[in-house]
């Protein structure tokens, strides 16, 4: 995805029954006219080819579709795409820019074997990055509570909690190291890529 041309409907005036939407996905501005029934998840997967966010239940019950909107984690399957108008969307594809090291959370999931089949993993990682940023990753108990919206049917929960504890420390260290250079939050750095 390199420009708004990726959106098949981008750049055209809205047609009847469609709604004009402008949003920024992983730092790339996009314009589209959309059927208001379309979910943000379907927009990402079907129109933008960003298939990292997964469709598990499509009813907000499993967390596989988790992305960030304006820096907050949401269920993209329960977000009508038209509601993302004027917003910044970050998906797993935008978490670590091409050519740069993995995000500490991605690396921690590898280091701790925090997955088996991997289907829930993009949602787990996006939720986990937000969980740390919110300050909700200060103990295993708190991580379990604030990650309860992400189901893993392989049962990799022990590894997931360990990965988040590990990444939380590394993210805190990174934040402190960059604090002197920039007032930007890690979230904003990734979204601006």
């Amino acid at each position: 995805m390199s420009s708004s041309a990726t959106l098949r409907t981008g750049g055209h005036p809205p047609t009847p029954g469609r709604v004009a939407v402008e949003l920024v996905v992983n730092g790339v501005p996009l314009a589209a006219s959309l059927d208001p029934r379309r979910s943000l998840l379907d927009l990402l997967r079907e129109q933008l080819g960003l298939t990292g966010a997964k469709k598990g239940c499509d009813h907000g019950q499993c967390g596989a579709c988790t992305v960030h909107v304006d820096g907050r984690r949401v269920a993209s399957c329960l977000t009508p795409a038209v509601q993302a108008h004027g917003r910044q969307v970050l998906t797993i594809e935008g978490l670590s820019p091409a050519g740069s090291p993995l995000h500490p959370m991605q690396q921690a999931f590898i280091d701790h074997d925090a997955l088996q089949c991997g289907y829930c993993t993009p949602g787990q990682i996006m939720a986990a990055v937000a969980c740390v940023a919110e300050g909700h990753a200060t103990s295993p108990e708190q991580i379990r509570e604030y990650m309860s919206g992400n189901l893993c049917r392989c049962g990799a929960y022990v590894g997931i909690v360990a990965a988040i504890e590990d990444a939380a420390m590394k993210m805190a260290a990174t934040t402190m190291a960059t604090a002197g250079r920039s007032a930007e939050m890690p979230e904003a750095r990734h979204a601006a890529v």
């Binding site: 029954g17 208001p36 009813h59 907000g60 988790t66 907050r72 949401v74 509601q83 919206g149």
Partner: protein
Amino acid sequence: MQPFDYVRATSVADAVRAFGAAGPDTRLLAGGTTLYDLMKLGVETPAHVIDVNGLRELETIDTSQPDELVFGALARMSDVAADPVIAGEYPALAESLWRAASQQLRNMASVGGNLLQRTRCAYFRGGEPFACNKRAPGSGCAAQEGIDRGHALFGGSEACIAVYPGDWAVALAAFEAQVDVEGPHGPRSLAIEALHVEPGRTPDVETTLAPGEIIVRIRVPKTPLGRASTYHKIRDRESYAFALVSVAAALRMEGDMVAEARLALGGVATRPWRVRAAEAVLRGQPFTPALARRAGEAALSGARPGRMNAFKVELGIRAVADALSIARQRG
């Protein structure tokens, strides 16, 4: 999903005008976590949707007023739960929010929309071929002869025994919150307990809101009952589930004596269920575990279980007693 036309409201007045002029097949879209979900299931089939998320003036969380906490209807559940005054001084309110749904959904869902969350009854959500008077008035109630493990002990009727699923409204009932609405005939306020109605013969009617009325604000009187409070939620799993039984409990102690108590139940009734008879059991008595148990028995007296949910009676009694013990430790 059935097609619908979509408009974005640009002001409260604009939303009131559009909603007031619209027919009964119009819905307001706030967080969307209930509405859009039910539209996917074909249970909600609006022809018109008015998106109110742009109304930033309704996102306020104001704890600085002398007499009341003020929440704009579009304040998000996660933001209210994380507010330091709410979390510190009104733990029952905060817990009713962060013990609901997941953080993803709490980031989306508004505290006004949450009041209007619709039941999780599987026969309501499941659609055809199941009969449901709430979804299709006059079709019957499949839950009466069906799997009623999650259904109501209180407030049910022959037409409907579906449980009100929310937590926040239960906590608000304990704190005697007011709901401000605006509509075609101007603004008005009502007690939270006057918002939801029992199903009776018309389970499709769930609130006393008039056509075109919009919830704009929730106000909670500041009270010393806030600090010694809890929202105790018993679920099939530890987190991210609807309540089997939940209890909003708040106490004002004078030494070891209960000066004032508030109790409301969730997960067991067709609407938020304040239990004043149980509050009266506590008032003026020295707090003991035995007293807390008696309050629980009073709270659950009159329960009308079905075939599979009688376990909720003893569970409810114990949940009330435990909630009171937790609240007492904070007082």
